[in-house]
Symmetry: D2
């Protein structure tokens, strides 16, 4: 499938991740991009990527309109949006309105209202839409979901999901770091800092694996670093719709932590534990023993099997998990464009509904943190 | 030093732990006991322990009075109280009033009021009093405290302390388990279940290492198992007196967890992580690298060095950490009885002040959990 | 750079690995292939990969001759050889003789004599040649080499390198497994089974990191599974050229092991430990403490920095390490074709000299294992 | 039971370990000792241990003769020998000849000939004799043995046993270290250094768990530190009596290693892995999955259950494992003295036969290392 990219020019981080993730399986070719709002920079970025100059556009509007004129088989088949949060909505809306499927980085939008508007457009156009909650692309996350859904834990009682990082322990945004700057700028990042950037991943992971929904929460957000404008740490108590209780905490000032997303889920008859930094291991605990499940070993669910490329013990990591979203999306899109029906595994990628819940999460935790009310409703 | 024990007869758990911990260093000899409120059972228990029948007493009152009549050098030097929570106060009070030093299992008492009465008696009599918050006996916990206090982390910002267990995932108390029964019985355990039994250890560990005090908290306690009368799980947000934020959660329904007490502390310039189940390892993380500190390796603080008995790589565990309280207490007591002044390391054991804070913690979390008020004051 | 592939058709394993590794960085495009010695199968495989039919060739000879006729900028720039061992030499020789650079899977050839002939051709033609000893592509392996070379361990005394796998614990080759069949067939695999397939990786890793050469060895090879024609396990004592001693063992009957390549190197003043299954961690031990080095954290050597794509804690794995060989090779090749000089980092990939030592290792351990002589010379 | 100790005075290491191990379970009381060959030092050591002066003897001969005169119920019931290796034989012989049971540190003696003489005396007198191969006292080592013996792995094919330490990486014996000095002195340690001190533990562990015997071996011993008189490192290939192959390596110059004894055993249908530094975990691997067995969790064998004192997750360590030898020995001795028959679990401790094999191992590896013959017979 042919991909056009919005954002991801020189100096960007997540754009390169999307390109590597899209390239790895040989299903997707980058054919064009609006890599920067600065046309010169966009062209230079396209040249770095071996694109012909005429397909490095000066704006996403230009790209969408120009590509639409190209014949099928040459023009881009979908748009990948990898800009900062405040610039998700405009290209997503225009791409959908012009008939292009979309892959969008998370969180879905700048506000919950925008998110709902995109959701409505997706429903109206029937176009494919993937949101890169990439951590659900790991094989063992899929296996964990399968085990919860098929009753390996009994009724879920408690969920602990954590996302500690340490890289914003100081005022990095004052040092010229592009990554730190937009993430801590309310005009680009949105209502939340850490809770939007990584807290939403934690929320999505907990709901994805458990199949439960958060109904109310109690949040304590903090901006620890002096001069910082958005939260860099947050601790949240959770209530789920089946009566389960939970804890979610995310932090970018947990000095010395790299990218420590992890989750533990406890049910009546067992528990599961997974760590993003050792992603090919899933720990299944019960009071009578512990079993280690591993990517590529033994009987795993179909989704987990489909998400691994190489034999056990050959570690697949972040890019491969990210690539699973692109791979499934590309296969679903190819079939859709060919008039075929995508399989359930083709469609195993996060979508616009995840994005709406993510935006609702952001708005809920920010409101809760400011409130004296103990339990704040999570409304999406 | 000669020890008389209250509780710990046949079928008890923690009594045996206290005896092994007291025996390991050759500083303490068990000379008498009131092992059970049933005189026959007490005698039989004493015989199991190779005690002469005349020193197995039918009640703690009898023991205290009789031992007081024996000459110094023969009579017990201190009382060790290992009964369920509701039976800590009476023997502690009587022992102190009769001039005996005391080692008491935690939590200190049944209510905060009792705890404060014991504290007043300790202050009045000047007698030595140890509370077995045994997890602070580990060498690497002492090293962690030392590092926080000497600035290795900078100002502390966030503390996450967890204590998951899984053994009460079902209604074990209905199966005849002595350990489960009293811990889940409000008339013996007190106002809290899991939060009293293990939550207090978590609270104590966090305050011990950080040197901070909790000032307010927001608790969500649950009794998940149908028919259970006290909480078996609790999630708590914390505020500390220096502005640090925290999370404490303790659970006895985290199916598959053994005895997973652990703590992470993050400051401006680094973080520390310690797990009770791998107690000889302390992880010191900063954004520029990770250092593993180990019992017996390299330069550790004096308290940590004094708390280890054998070279690095020869694992010391729970009983040794527990034994450190007894060892230090015995050495302090011997010096005190000889008219000498105990050293700082002799006095490195938890005491009555820790016990008062523990009881205040129990009362605070129980009240907070019932309240609609978000932040509840922690008053001790 | 444009890649033509020899081997790697439907049902193959390592061909897909090479394609993903080559694709990930956007530096290489697969333009043609002789995927199978069966022309039909080759065409079908090419179609799976979205290649036009005219560039799926029926043989490597046909491919090399036809591509040579295409204009530069269209024809393949290099050949990637991913066939079983006995089919490395013919295409490598012909590619070099026709002016194409080569990437070749390991071991280099079927015999040491073939390996030396390829080495001579590489020297004669001056063409770039990469051998995919992919495990040296990991950032922390490069960091380990750097640390040894810059004296972090002092003089090296002992090396322990292990490569346990379990997948050949039964006679898998009798069940129709394509992977097992050729690897255990002396006519395709060569003189050794496990020692050729994975033992050579262990040998290469030890020599790569330490900078030392094995001078003599004492081997004990076994075919444990009844009916197996080649060794499935081997234990080897090693002597190195600086006086260091070592142990190398590789096994494909270590039931329950996945792909457990690991190495420990001890010098006068410290030790290093690295495990392929947790590749982003390098453990630096000394008698005064342990330091954990991590991909993306702190000050690493230039080669390690260049070998990582994403921030710390976003695990990069086997394909990324494999991709580092392709990425560096492609950059070196591009510069070479442009008349520029590749940098030291561009040239940081294993080459034909590694391949010759690998073949010498195979011949030495096979001969040693059959000998009553204790120490057998390692001659390459 | 009443214990008299030979050796273990001020400045000793293993004597204190024996005393703590003996004390922990309340079954053994230290009643006398010949703690040093210097009578003054012996008395002072006894006083440190709260012994009356008349039971601190100036020599083991004096102790054995004097204690023999005391009435039963007052005199020592057994002798514990904790001297350097060259001083095991004389007190063991005299104790046995005077009717005292013996606990002896390992290795059993200075030479194989001495070891056989002790063995003959044990058989002749019928007295109980324990050898403190303490690592077999761990619950999970007992569980491993049980699993191998009951077929969990199928026929054993490969054993890898390692014992790396780093503390002798420099010429510590020249710095006044008592521990280093006698261990590296051929007149006190015997024919081997590291192989006697720790290699014998590795050999014992491999044979204990597997139930197999080494039949021949190929050793490569080295004294890496200049000026050292005995081996500080050794690598050994092993052949076992059922056809299994193995590797044993032990080292005291593996810089940065603490006390890293570990073992992996692979059979036709599965593998086991155990590490002394995380002793409460036993890893059971098969090609279809990994199971973690833990002290105190689930269904373990009777010997493992009897070897643990406290619930799962309360780590028991080195002293507790060591104590299991003393506990079982004391119980067996009490029953024997009372005319009862000890149970199989009472008798679950290493004995004189283990000691004879250990001495044969030492003599075999030393001879093999000097030989040009590839395979050297292991004769005991």
């Amino acid at each position: 499938m042919r991909m056009g990219m919005v954002g991801g020019g020189r100096g960007a981080f997540i754009g390169g991740v999307h390109r590597m993730a899209a390239a790895i399986d040989g299903e997707i070719e980058l054919v064009c991009g609006a890599f920067s709002s600065d046309p010169e920079r966009s062209k230079a970025s396209g040249a770095d990527l071996y694109l012909p100059p005429e397909r490095s556009y000066g704006s996403f509007e230009e790209m969408i309109l120009a590509e639409k004129q190209l014949p099928i088989g040459e023009r881009m088949d979908f748009v990948s949006i990898v800009t900062p949060n405040h610039m998700h909505f405009p290209p997503a809306k225009m791409a959908l309105e012009n008939g292009f499927a979309v892959v969008c980085d998370k969180p879905l939008a700048f506000t919950l209202a925008e998110a709902k508007e995109i959701e409505a457009l997706v429903h109206k156009t029937g176009l494919l839409f993937a949101l890169t909650h990439n951590y659900t692309g790991y094989p063992m996350v899929k296996q964990a979901r399968h085990m919860v859904h098929t009753g390996a834990l009994g009724k879920v009682r408690k969920i602990v999901v954590e996302y500690p990082q340490g890289w914003l322990s100081t005022l990095v945004e004052s040092t010229g770091s592009k990554q730190a700057s937009w993430r801590t700028d309310p005009s680009k990042s949105g209502a939340a800092g850490a809770m939007g950037d990584i807290g939403t991943h934690a929320e999505n992971l907990a709901e994805y694996i458990s199949g439960l929904h958060i109904t109310e929460l109690c949040a304590d957000l903090t901006a620890f670093v002096e001069g910082r404008l958005l939260d860099d740490d947050g601790n949240v108590l959770l209530h789920f719709d089946n009566g389960a209780k939970g804890i979610l905490h995310a932090s970018q000032i947990s000095n010395g932590e790299e990218n420590g997303l992890n989750i533990r889920i406890y049910g009546e008859t067992g528990g599961l534990e997974w760590h993003q930094m050792e992603p090919n291991t899933l720990i299944h605990k019960t009071n009578s023993g512990v079993q280690i499940l591993r990517t590529g070993v033994g009987a795993l669910c179909d989704e987990a099997l489909a998400a691994a490329r190489i034999p056990a013990g050959h570690p697949e990591g972040y890019l491969e998990a990210f690539g699973n979203i692109y791979k499934n999306f590309a296969r679903a899109l190819r079939k859709t464009l060919n008039g075929e029906t995508p399989s359930a595994i083709d469609l195993d990628f996060p979508g616009v509904a995840d994005g709406v819940r993510g935006m609702a999460f952001i708005e809920s935790v920010v409101a809760s943190s400011k409130s004296d009310q103990k339990w704040y409703p999570f409304v999406s």
